[in-house]
């Protein structure tokens, strides 16, 4: 984990209010797993950095790819960065997805909205290990969808939209319900209500969920980002013990 001024090498709108930001710097060498995140200082006057998942990276080119959606002040400020600008980033943070797959295993990836990006690198690595991937991505509407075709190189992609403007109408859980056969493992990232529904639906299947919570330090020191856990300590910090947890590790409230 380092603090580094990364250089913006690309910044493009990929869907409504959603941008792809490619940053260049040495930080990429510290990435250990898909699903880790960076903690970004989006402007100089804010006390809180913004956590954004690493969607993809390239060691040779020393680039990290992020996808973010404009929600409030911080992500709005991010949109102003142009190619060549430098951005104060802390990272890579946290523990990502354990990339577990034997050739031929059936693995399910489900992502909702801006929970989709961290699954992208994960899909790539699972695919390389020979897993059979079923990928269900949920978006508000066709205007909000992204990474659809990119995911297709790694498995069979199913799009769900709230309004049915792309793929099937419904939530990712409706998508899961429509699948035949069972899964050896699943990975999911999205808003907490979605995570809860997915975890419930998939019962005892081995699952890994990526959580989110408002963060302070982003490195484990302030206890802003805790989630209750089943172990003796009673809590996990999303920023350093997570954001990815085994589905039985934490209590989803």
């Amino acid at each position: 984990m380092i603090r580094e001024d990364l250089t913006v090498v690309d910044h493009t709108l990929v869907a409504e209010d959603t941008y792809q930001l490619i940053l260049c710097g040495r930080m990429v060498h510290d990435i250990k797993q898909p699903g880790q995140f960076v903690h970004i200082r989006t402007s100089t006057d804010e006390y809180l950095r913004r956590p954004v998942s690493i969607s993809d990276y390239n060691i040779d080119e020393e680039t990290i790819t992020l996808l973010y959606k404009v929600i409030g002040k911080g992500t709005k400020a991010l949109t102003a960065y142009q190619i060549g600008d430098s951005l104060d980033v802390l990272g890579p943070g946290g523990r990502g997805f354990p990339v577990k797959a034997r050739p031929g295993e059936n693995v399910l990836l489900t992502g909702g909205g801006i929970g989709v990006p961290p699954l992208y690198r994960l899909a790539h690595e699972l695919y390389e290990k020979g897993a059979d991937l079923t990928i269900i991505l949920g978006f508000q509407s066709i205007r909000h969808a992204f990474l659809k075709s990119e995911f297709q190189q790694y498995g069979s992609v199913h799009i769900m939209t709230d309004d049915g403007t792309s793929g099937n109408k419904g939530f990712v859980t409706d998508g899961i319900a429509g699948m035949s056969g069972s899964f050896d493992r699943y990975y999911t990232c999205g808003p907490t209500p979605m995570l809860k529904a997915v975890v419930k639906q998939l019962g005892d299947t081995e699952g890994y969920i990526s959580m989110e919570e408002r963060m302070g330090c982003g490195i484990g020191a302030c206890f802003a980002c805790v989630v209750p856990s089943h172990d003796e300590k009673g809590y996990k910090r999303i920023c350093c013990d997570g954001p990815v947890f085994h589905h039985k590790e934490v209590v989803l409230t």
Binding site: R3, E46, R214, G218, G220, A221, A224
Partner: protein, 310 residues
């Protein structure tokens, strides 16, 4: 430049320490720089038993600052003594333990246990984020004096009482702590505050209220330290919104002998180190030969304040 400062129980190579709750027990920041560079480390609050704290969200932003309602989450005093203090000791940096509790008995118990392992205590009677205990002791001078006295009795090291800004008269509280036997004051904790999200129509923090920290708080803290300094004979550790070495000079001039840096660690995890590096030059720039010379300086200048145009 002499940045050393001697305080009861603490021989500091410089007056800069991370503030309680913003630096955990040091482990995470030790990955960024050697903690030995700091004047001291103030640990996260310790209570008798482990505490989970408040539901999330626990932090929010506000203009020029942030709100938190962590709720004193900590692993409990025994665990801190066994798991955390040995790590900090190995870093070769003075340690201040932040002592919290819901009852006088709990304060006394925690202070007694932990004081055997640290250089000083910071008695936290000012946490606004817990339902019982905490800040009630910090808003009533009788309770404050009493809990201070009882903690001082059992503590093996000097006790610094951490005051709350949520009071009508900070001098009364400072004097109560001094009467109770405090060796120093720590000023100030966060100001109780709230933000409401117009979309959800609810407070942004689950706890409803939280504590305001950061630059927005600085002029309030400076005012309180400036008020208290001439009224007590014990030293003050100043904090609230420190982000630059010039901010530190402002605190010293108001009357602080040392300072703590809190929320700014979240902006920049290397801030304390950078301030340690910058302080000598900044003191020199403003015409000081040492930290000590600046302490309380604003109380001694007699030229009229005014606008001198270059």
């Amino acid at each position: 430049m002499n940045t050393m400062i001697q305080l009861p129980g603490l021989s500091l190579k410089n007056p800069i320490m991370p503030a309680s709750g913003c630096f955990g027990f040091g482990r995470e920041y030790a990955r960024f720089y050697p903690l030995a560079e700091l004047g001291a480390v103030i640990m996260k609050a310790a209570t008798g038993e482990k505490r989970y704290g408040n539901p999330t969200p626990r932090v929010a932003e506000s203009t020029g600052g942030m709100l938190n309602a962590i709720g004193l989450q900590n692993p409990g005093v025994e665990s801190i003594i066994q798991e955390e203090i040995p790590f900090l000791k190995a870093q070769q940096v003075p340690i201040i333990a932040n002592v919290a509790g819901s009852t006088v008995e709990e304060y006394v118990e925690v202070a007694e246990k932990i004081s055997a392992h640290v250089d000083a205590l910071e008695l936290n009677i000012s946490c606004p984020n817990v339902k019982e205990g905490g800040v009630q002791f910090g808003m009533d001078p009788v309770l404050a004096e009493d809990v201070t006295r009882r903690v001082v009795q059992v503590s093996r090291v000097p006790v610094y009482v951490k005051l709350s800004p949520n009071v009508s008269d900070i001098v009364v509280m400072a004097k109560a702590a001094e009467r109770g036997g405090a060796s120093g004051l720590s000023m100030i904790n966060t100001l109780t505050a709230m933000r409401i999200d117009p979309s959800s129509r609810k407070p942004v923090l689950s706890n409803g209220t939280g504590g305001l920290s950061g630059a927005a708080l600085k002029p309030v803290s400076i005012r309180m330290i400036h008020q208290v300094y001439p009224k007590v004979a014990i030293p003050i550790i100043g904090m609230g919104g420190i982000e630059t070495a010039a901010d530190i000079v402002e605190y010293l001039l108001a009357g602080a002998s040392a300072v703590a840096v809190g929320s700014a660690n979240f902006k920049n995890p290397l801030i304390c180190r950078e301030l340690v590096e910058q302080l000598p030059e900044t003191l020199h720039h403003y015409g000081f030969q040492s930290v000590e010379e600046a302490v309380g300086g604003a109380h001694r200048e007699s030229v009229e304040a005014g606008l001198l145009r270059p």
